[in-house]
């Protein structure tokens, strides 16, 4: 199995499309940080002061690197799926499109093992991408704006001491990675249905956008389906910044997200194991 995973790693990480996301975020994040440094930070300060100055005395470096790291996390999680689907959607459909299954599947190796190796590499890519974005945003923000305690405005105002922040951000990125695993798994499943790598990208993004619309609208009907939509659990990472940290809810979110991921993977295995390879 290890050698199958290694082969999939070679195939995936030697394609330039794998690096589109890294290049995109590698350009966008520094641009935003530079923009904030060159004046954008002031508009944040004005908004924050107008919100808080009547009730609080604000001192110290509030608009610090941790604050913008937190801001980036909230702003980017909607965009990360786009780059993840480029690779996840290609994992199975790309082989079908290229016709390489004609060699790959005519050996004494089970389809399940091949699919499992592809899935593991998809998850590795997803984790690397999310952690790259995390490292880049926090690293650049701290470099540009320095450290300090984190001011979180969520269900009230909370100030988290800087000493706890590396640990909390690590947990937050762990949860964000799990949420993105679900996105990649869904795209991977769609990839098993087709030989066109574009289809899974469009289908996954359509599911995400429609789901976000549904959970955003305050209609009873939509709210009742909310627990069954995986995007409902995308913000699980934010909960580690609550006080007290709702560990039970976080644990439940982890189980639900892992359940979605495993379901999508198993569905892909079941479908692909009986799929006629016509390409």
């Amino acid at each position: 199995m290890i050698h199958l995973i290694w082969f999939e790693m070679i195939k995936t990480f030697t394609r330039w499309r794998t690096y589109i996301g890294f290049i995109a975020f590698g350009i966008i994040v520094p641009m935003v940080v530079i923009g904030l440094k060159l004046g954008g930070q002031n508009s944040f300060k004005r908004s924050l002061l107008s919100l808080l100055q009547n009730d609080f005395i604000i001192g110290g470096n509030v608009l610090n690197g941790w604050f913008f790291g937190f801001f980036f996390m909230g702003a980017l999680w909607v965009h990360v799926p786009i780059v993840l689907t480029i690779v996840a959607g290609d994992q199975i459909a790309g082989e079908g499109n290229a016709g390489t299954f004609r060699f790959l599947l005519t050996h004494s190796v089970s389809r399940t093992r091949i699919i499992a190796a592809k899935f593991i590499v998809t998850l590795i890519y997803t984790a690397v991408m999310v952690l790259f974005i995390g490292g880049l945003t926090i690293g650049l923000s701290l470099w540009a704006f320095g450290g300090g305690d984190l001011l979180v405005i969520r269900k009230g105002i909370l100030v988290i001491q800087e000493t706890r922040l590396p640990y909390l951000f690590l947990m937050a990125y762990g949860l964000a990675t799990l949420a993105m695993f679900v996105v990649s798994s869904l795209c991977f499943l769609f990839s098993a249905f087709t030989d066109n790598p574009i289809g899974p990208i469009i289908a996954t993004m359509a599911v995400i956008i429609v789901s976000i619309i549904i959970i955003s609208l305050p209609f009873d009907l939509f709210q009742s389906v909310r627990p069954y939509l995986f995007v409902n659990y995308f913000d699980a990472w934010q909960k580690v910044f609550d006080d007290p940290v709702p560990w039970d809810i976080i644990r439940m979110n982890i189980i639900i997200l892992a359940g979605f991921m495993i379901t999508f993977f198993l569905a892909a295995v079941v479908y692909f194991s009986r799929k006629d390879i016509l390409s």
Binding site: H3, L4, F7, I10, K11, T14, R15, W16, A98, G99, T100, F101, R102, F103, L104, L105, T106, H107, S108, V109, S110, R111, R274, D276, I277, L278
Partner: protein
């Protein structure tokens, strides 16, 4: 130990209302070069894909080395090497990497072994180049190298010479013959190029509209039905008159290229030659026209009528 390497048992594939392969039964024995013939759309590729576990049969089974595909699944393919239609590789990777990946799925392969087989098919100089820069012929050769790397006992080739130049086609034919003769490898060769099968196959089956039309040894099938001989002489018009006087050569007719065609069993060719020479004609050539192509076309045309009344 059974001598039958590959057997299809009532192999059937239905796509909605279309029956692509209809209760097909073929047997390939150890050491044979088995020609699997049929026009485009006859069901050859569907059959080969079912044999290789790429397509699942609607009905029936495939046995490879005695193992049922239904029961053994992909494990039945352990000693099988195959190129299905146009060989496809990871274009962004080199031939070396492709061989490492696609040849190392069952067990890892060493680079010297890979280079040995790339040398065998004449790709050593381009081993490090991305495969997307390869010509179709080079892809075909890489596909063959990949099969050889696996050292299979049964090789399945689906239209292996498609797109190759005459030299490339000759090399592939020679390679198949060499593998069969020197290593005792059994070969299932699917083709719509009848002369290709005629040249190298020992056994063959003809499939049309998903059904097996005929099967047997190539030599036996060649003997079936009337055959023709093309006669090239210095005076075709006079030779024609001479032949018409003999009851045995009543079917003689002038061919468009100036030769004469006459229906004749091949074992009577020496007699015809003798008669022409004795009559004072210079015989430049006597070319047997009986071939699988005629047989194949007659068979297909006959069944077209039967299938479409």
């Amino acid at each position: 130990m059974t001598d039958i390497i590959l057997r299809t048992i009532n192999l059937t594939k239905r796509y909605k209302n279309r029956l692509a392969v209809d209760h097909l039964n073929i047997e390939v024995r150890r050491g044979e070069i088995f020609g699997f013939l049929g026009p485009n759309g006859a069901g050859k590729s569907t059959t080969i894909r079912m044999i290789l576990h790429l397509i699942f049969p609607t009905e029936g089974d495939v046995e490879i080395f005695g193992a049922s595909m239904k029961e053994a699944g992909h494990r039945a393919l352990e000693r099988v090497g195959a190129v299905v239609e146009k060989p496809a590789f990871y274009g962004h990777l080199s031939a070396l990497r492709n061989m490492e990946i696609l040849g190392g799925l069952q067990k890892p392969v060493t680079r010297p072994r890979i280079m040995n087989y790339l040398e065998r098919v004449g790709l050593t100089d381009r081993a490090s180049d991305p495969v997307k820069t390869y010509s179709h012929g080079m892809n075909q050769r890489l596909g063959l190298a990949l099969i050889l790397l696996k050292e299979p006992q049964l090789i399945i080739l689906d239209e292996p010479t498609t797109g190759l130049d005459p030299q490339g086609m000759k090399e592939v034919r020679e390679l198949i013959l060499e593998l069969s003769r020197e290593r005792g490898v059994t070969v299932l060769l699917s083709s719509h190029l009848l002369y290709e099968v005629e040249m190298i196959a020992t056994q063959m089956a003809i499939i049309h509209h998903g059904k097996l039309r005929v099967g047997g040894s190539v030599q036996d099938l060649l003997k079936k039905g009337p055959s023709e001989v093309l006669i090239k002489t210095d005076r075709p018009a006079e030779a024609m008159q001479f032949l018409k006087t003999n009851e045995s050569y009543r079917s003689a007719r002038i061919h468009s290229d100036g030769g004469i065609n006459v229906e004749l069993d091949q074992d009577r060719i020496p007699e015809l030659n003798r008669q022409l020479v004795n009559a004072g004609f210079n015989v430049n050539a006597l070319v047997p026209q009986r071939s699988l192509e005629n047989y194949f076309l007659n068979l297909i045309e006959g069944h077209e009528g039967a299938d479409n009344p």
